[in-house]
């Protein structure tokens, strides 16, 4: 009852004309940033941060968080329509979202991801509302050995990430892991594979790789292709999912939401990792795995829901303990401190207005986003009828701006171009970029935590089994390996039988 009262009080704050305005503004900017490929919410928040100096703290946080979850909400649009992640963590949605669009099922994919985002967002907010203080403590259960084991399980999923041959999948994943080693090694302070270039000292940025491999490579794909003339005729009645589609999508939305909500709470993971894990889980539970990568609706619903649930629960370590989990959260903490508000365990008690106001605004923002996104489906479909010669130059421009603005570096733009070239070649050889991206994201987390664990245990590998959570995760890892080996053997037998027949 107490919580309901608090929340009602929060709505009183969030529903003032001014805060509604900031919520609308944040959601609208977030949607725009989410739709534009290359421009990430982190850079947008950084650019708008000085503007928030002048407004009350609660309004500032309402707007900034609106940008953050709004971008995650809308990031799937460009992924589905153009095979380009509109916001970095929607790379996963590309894999099945874009094939769906190619089959003329773009509307269905967009609707399912809007519904999934909304549902996952709501669940995320319920989790924040009910369990914020409790769960920020749960995040602390994950130390170095636990993260090591968790990432080992997630990396295992790289093996099921794409439909390509085992060799190409493995090769791309290893390449991603190697790229992840570039930069200053946190353990020793030494630079690795930077060739003395200060531009590489912070490592290869994920946005650079995602824009290169997905957006730039996609554009180059069409240089030789004949100009498409608005030929994608989609009837309005086919825009919206049928009951059978929803039946297929809903279990995936539930699973994705659960995974995202859980992984988002951990300061060391976040929306992107959650989306990857949700996609892999979907493939594992599906009866017919071969549908994935070719437009499976679950492959859109699950990662999109996980992304949005995690984007919400990622606020928990920040609001509950003042831990800056990720760069966007670090900037929101900065915005609070500039207003003279001390984040930390006392935030909920000392600044109840702020906490509950922001939580209430998340409900409103999520509803606004659904209203933005669902009716827009038709408009986005129209985008497909735009001739490439008008569409792509604009996209390249936005991508360059986005990549440049990550750290004001022209070098990064060139590097993205290089990855674009590599992506183009990789496509010719049917090498999916997804395992590379996964390796790049997870590799450094794995290496850092693995070495940290061993430093803590003074070289004793038993640390991974002594910690119950990491032991449990490693058991799961072993189960996955056994399943992979067994199914591998079965398909092998199948093939042999076919060949001899």
């Amino acid at each position: 009852m107490d919580i309901l009262q608090q929340l009602a009080h929060g709505f009183g704050i969030a529903l003032t004309m001014q805060n509604l305005g900031y919520c609308l503004l944040g959601s609208a900017i977030g949607t725009m940033v989410g739709v534009l490929p290359g421009i990430s919410p982190v850079t947008t928040i950084a650019m708008l941060l000085p503007l928030t100096f002048q407004v009350p703290a609660v309004s500032a946080l309402i707007m900034l968080s609106g940008i953050y979850y709004g971008a995650h909400h809308a990031g799937s649009t460009t992924a589905i329509m153009l095979n380009m992640p509109g916001e970095p963590s929607s790379v996963v949605v590309c894999m099945d979202g874009h094939p769906m669009a190619k089959q003329g099922r773009a509307g269905i994919a967009l609707c399912v991801s809007a519904i999934g985002s909304f549902f996952a967002g709501c669940v995320g907010i319920i989790v924040i509302t009910l369990f914020s203080p409790l769960l920020s403590e749960a995040g602390l259960l994950f130390g170095a050995p636990e993260y090591t084991a968790l990432v080992a399980v997630a990396l295992m999923t790289a093996s099921v990430m794409s439909n390509g041959s085992a060799l190409s999948t493995f090769g791309m994943a290893v390449l991603g892991l190697l790229l992840g080693t570039v930069g200053t090694d946190v353990g020793t302070g030494l630079e690795r594979y930077t060739f003395g270039l200060p531009e590489l000292a912070e490592g290869v940025d994920f946005v650079v790789v995602a824009v290169g491999l997905f957006a730039f490579a996609e554009v180059t794909q069409h240089i030789n292709a004949p100009e498409r003339r608005g030929a994608l005729s989609v009837k309005f009645s086919e825009l919206f999912p049928r009951l059978s589609d929803l039946k297929q999508a809903f279990p995936a939305i539930f699973r994705g939401t659960g995974i995202g909500a859980a992984l988002g709470i951990l300061p060391g993971t976040g929306p992107l990792v959650s989306a990857f894990v949700a996609y892999a889980v979907e493939r594992q539970v599906a009866k017919d795995k071969s549908r994935f990568g070719k437009g499976a609706i679950e492959g859109v619903a699950a990662p999109e829901s996980a992304d949005n649930a995690a984007a919400m629960t990622h606020f928990i370590p920040m609001l509950g303990l003042g831990i800056p989990a990720g760069p966007a959260m670090a900037m929101m903490l900065g915005a609070l401190m500039i207003q003279g508000i001390q984040p930390g365990p006392q935030l909920m008690a000392n600044h109840a207005d702020l906490f509950w106001g922001v939580v209430a605004s998340m409900w409103i923002g999520n509803l606004m986003l659904l209203i933005f996104n669902l009716p827009m489906v038709g408009v986005w479909i129209k985008l497909l009828t735009t001739p490439y010669r008008f569409l792509y130059p604009g996209i390249i421009l936005f991508c360059c701006i986005g990549v440049y603005s990550v750290r004001n570096s022209a070098f990064d733009v060139l590097m993205a171009a290089g990855f674009g070239l590599f992506g183009m070649v990789a496509r010719q050889f049917n090498c999916s970029p997804a395992p590379l991206v996964l390796g790049l994201v997870l590799g450094p987390i794995f290496e850092e935590n693995f070495r940290r664990s061993l430093t803590i245990s003074k070289g004793d590998p038993m640390i991974f089994l002594e910690h119950p959570i990491s032991a449990g995760l490693l058991a799961l890892f072993a189960v996955f390996v056994v399943i992979a080996v067994l199914t591998g053997a079965r398909t092998q037998k199948h093939k042999l039988a076919e060949e001899s027949a």
């Binding site: 200053t184 003395g196 000292a201 989990a325 760069p327 670090a330 365990p345 004001n408």
Partner: protein, 329 residues
Amino acid sequence: MRRKLFNITKTLLTLAALAPALSMAHAEDYPSKTIRIIVPVPPGGPTDTVARIVADRLHTAWGQPVIVENKPGGTGALANQTVNNANPDGYTILVGNVSTNAITFATDPEKTKDIKLKGVSNLIQVPGILSANGGLPVTSIQDLIAKMKSGELKDVKYGSGGVGTYPQIDALRFMTKNGLEATHIAYKGAGQILPALLANEIQLEFLNEASGLPLIKSGRLKGLATTWTERLPELPDVPTMQELGYGDIGTSAWHGMFVPEKTPADRVNKLYTAVAAIMADPDTQKKLADQYIKATPSKSPEEFSQFVDSERAKWAKIIKDNNIEVAPQ
């Protein structure tokens, strides 16, 4: 028609080429265009915060746009290089800190040997707190040392942002000075360090006041000592490292403003005067105090330059005395 266009273009080009020369000729015209402040760290954190506050106030005072550009990379290498190679006309400014503009000069002489910057003024200092996990059974620094020596407290680990960062160097020096053994664990930023300290994965860490204070006040962490010159008003019961007899161990990270070496003195002075006024403004000071940052402007550009020189000498000696190796030899 074409000839006319050509002529116009030529005139414009000539004007554009002359513009910098013209503005050079009249130093009193400075500033007459957009000023860039380069920051060697990503957004968020004290360096970025103070740069943005100063940018905002400079814009109000001078009526020219002032843009903050974050150029993280190689502990300041990228930002230092950018400003070093910029036109020395007072339109490109660096806001650096003790790590990017003193410690790296000692740990990585190869990469920093060509960087020649002129100091304008110190801006702020950020007090540090030697913090311990709340459950660590110690009441004070003396208690910590005694229990570590007697073996009652075994296997103590301290965290930092990596080898060669001041929290690591300070903790190492503290342990060495007391003849204690402790393991160093490296983390990437406060987002990893705080959970590790709260979860007792590490027991000790030099945190900046803004990160540590709320957790100390709530009892989740213990403040053992502060690095400030006097006791902090927020933590009157926590002694300073100095009064405990640790002299210069412990860093209150300074953040200051630099320009390219050849920037004309009158422009440096004009910039200094404006910045000094901004830092003396009660409104700025309140904004900073809200974030537990101390405004510490220098008395003159020369004083700041001398301060930076002494800091570099001090860190060079510390790095050498403690055999800290970061850059490849």
